[in-house]
Structures are given as C-alpha cells and as structure tokens.
C-alpha cells in the first residue's frame, strides 16, 4: 500500500508535469516546486477525490494571511501529508 506521500507526489507529478524524482517530503509546493495557486486547485481537487476529504484551503490561506501560520506548515509536502492523514482520520472517526 502506497504512503500518503507517494500518492500526493504522484498527483503533483502528473498534474503539474514535474519529474517525480524531484519531489521529496521536504519539498515546498510553492517555493521549491513552483506550483501556483491555480495549479494547486487541480492538486487539491485530485487529493479531495483520492482521499475522500475536503482540503480546507480557504482556512489555511486565511491563517497564513493573518500571520497565524506559515506556508511551511501546510505546503511542505510532509506537513501537507500529515494534514491529509489527520483529515482522513477525522472523517473515519465521524463516519
């Protein structure tokens, strides 16, 4: 069974045409991989579908804009994957 990171990295590689071997858990989606907000919508869509969740992009963006969080907390891939795992777990707990 592939890890959350493997699945997310594959989604990013296929959605944004980025070589898979350049994507690491420490990659920052924006700063390192150059993914812009529009491309990230496609990634969010694919993640939402694949994991059966709804990434709270608006909430995250607001927190970053308000200085309550850093982009690293949400857009470094190992952190993004941890958030995805939390959302999947929360969904399973409420089901």
């Amino acid at each position: 069974m592939s890890t959350t990171f493997d699945q997310v990295a594959t989604i990013i590689a296929e959605t944004c045409d980025i070589p898979r071997d350049t994507i690491t858990p420490d990659s920052h989606a924006i700063d390192d991989l150059g993914i812009d907000s529009l491309d990230f919508l496609d990634i969010a869509f694919a993640i939402d579908k694949q994991f059966g969740i709804k990434l709270p992009l608006e909430k995250w963006t607001q927190e970053v804009n308000d200085g309550k969080a850093t982009t690293e907390q949400y857009f470094v891939l190992k952190n993004l994957c941890a958030r995805i795992d939390e959302l999947v777990a929360a969904k399973g707990a409420s089901a």
């Binding site: 529009l38 919508l41 496609d42 969010a44 869509f45 939402d48 579908k49 709804k54 990434l55 709270p56 992009l57 608006e58 909430k59 963006t61």
Partner: protein, 156 residues
C-alpha cells in the same frame, strides 16, 4: 441575450440546488455588432462566447448552491469542445452541474444544445470569492432578478 454587455443568459428554466444542476435558456440575437466581424456573410457565435455562456450558466448554479454568499469567478477552462456551430436566432439550452465543490473553488461541467443537439461542452473551474463590494453584489442581484433566479429560495 445581449452580447455586447455579456448578458449571455436570458432565463433560468430549472435550478435544483440539492442536485446541483441548472438548466437555462439563451436566445442568440439575429443581429449584433459581433456578427459584423464574425463573420461577414456567415455570422456565427464565437466559440469563446459559447464558453462564456457555459460559464455564466455554471455561475448561476454556483450562486444558488452557495446561497448567494460567494461570487464564482472563472479560473480555468479545463476542456472545451465546440461540436457544432451556433447561429443568430438559435435558442440555446444550457445545462450545468457541479462536478466538485472544494474549499474556495468549484468545478462544473456544462453543455449547450440547440434543438436537442449537443453543440458545445466544457469542464470549468471557478474560484469562489466573497463579493468584493456592495456595488457588485447589487449588480448581481439585478442580473439574477432579470433571468428569474429564485432569490427567495436560496436565501441563507
């Protein structure tokens, strides 16, 4: 339909908020300055205006789903196919459905039929933003009233 003012939709025929679907109609005018250039001797609806029509149908659907609390803004045309020409005087029936509703964005699929025949289809992405000011919200309310948008039914 007033092409010069981007009034692409004439009437909402059916809006099902729970099912996230909409059907609207739009009568292509027989005369427009647009047709003077597109094309002399062979007037037909520009493909880009067919896409805009599908975007506006999708937009009214999203306004309904979001209870008029967010404004959908076209962000991406993922796919668009013009399968047949649309001419002055044609009555277009547009159908749209929400394919995915994310956080701050949504994706729709839309079709245009004339006389029951599929003429165009598209997959569209919208960002969903707060109304930037009262003027825009007021304008959209007037537009909604013009096309018979059921404002009462979707009031929060």
């Amino acid at each position: 339909m007033q092409l010069e003012y981007f009034h692409m939709i004439d009437r909402i025929v059916d809006l099902k908020v729970d099912e996230k679907t909409i059907v609207v109609e739009a009568l292509v005018p027989k005369e427009s300055t647009v047709f003077e250039g597109h094309f002399p001797g062979y007037p037909l609806m520009p493909g880009v205006l067919l896409i805009e029509s599908m975007a506006q149908a999708s937009g009214f659907l999203l306004l309904g789903v979001l209870k008029f609390e967010r404004m959908p803004i076209l962000a991406a045309v993922k796919e668009a196919k013009v399968r047949g020409s649309v001419f002055p005087g044609d009555l277009m029936t547009l159908e749209a459905s929400v394919a995915h509703e994310g956080s701050g964005y949504a994706m729709t699929e839309a079709k245009i039929r004339v006389g029951g025949k599929l003429r165009a289809n598209s997959a569209l992405t919208f960002t969903l933003i707060p109304f930037p000011n009262a003027d825009m919200r007021g304008y959209m309310t007037k537009v909604a009233e013009r096309v018979g948008f059921p404002l009462q039914a979707v009031s929060p």
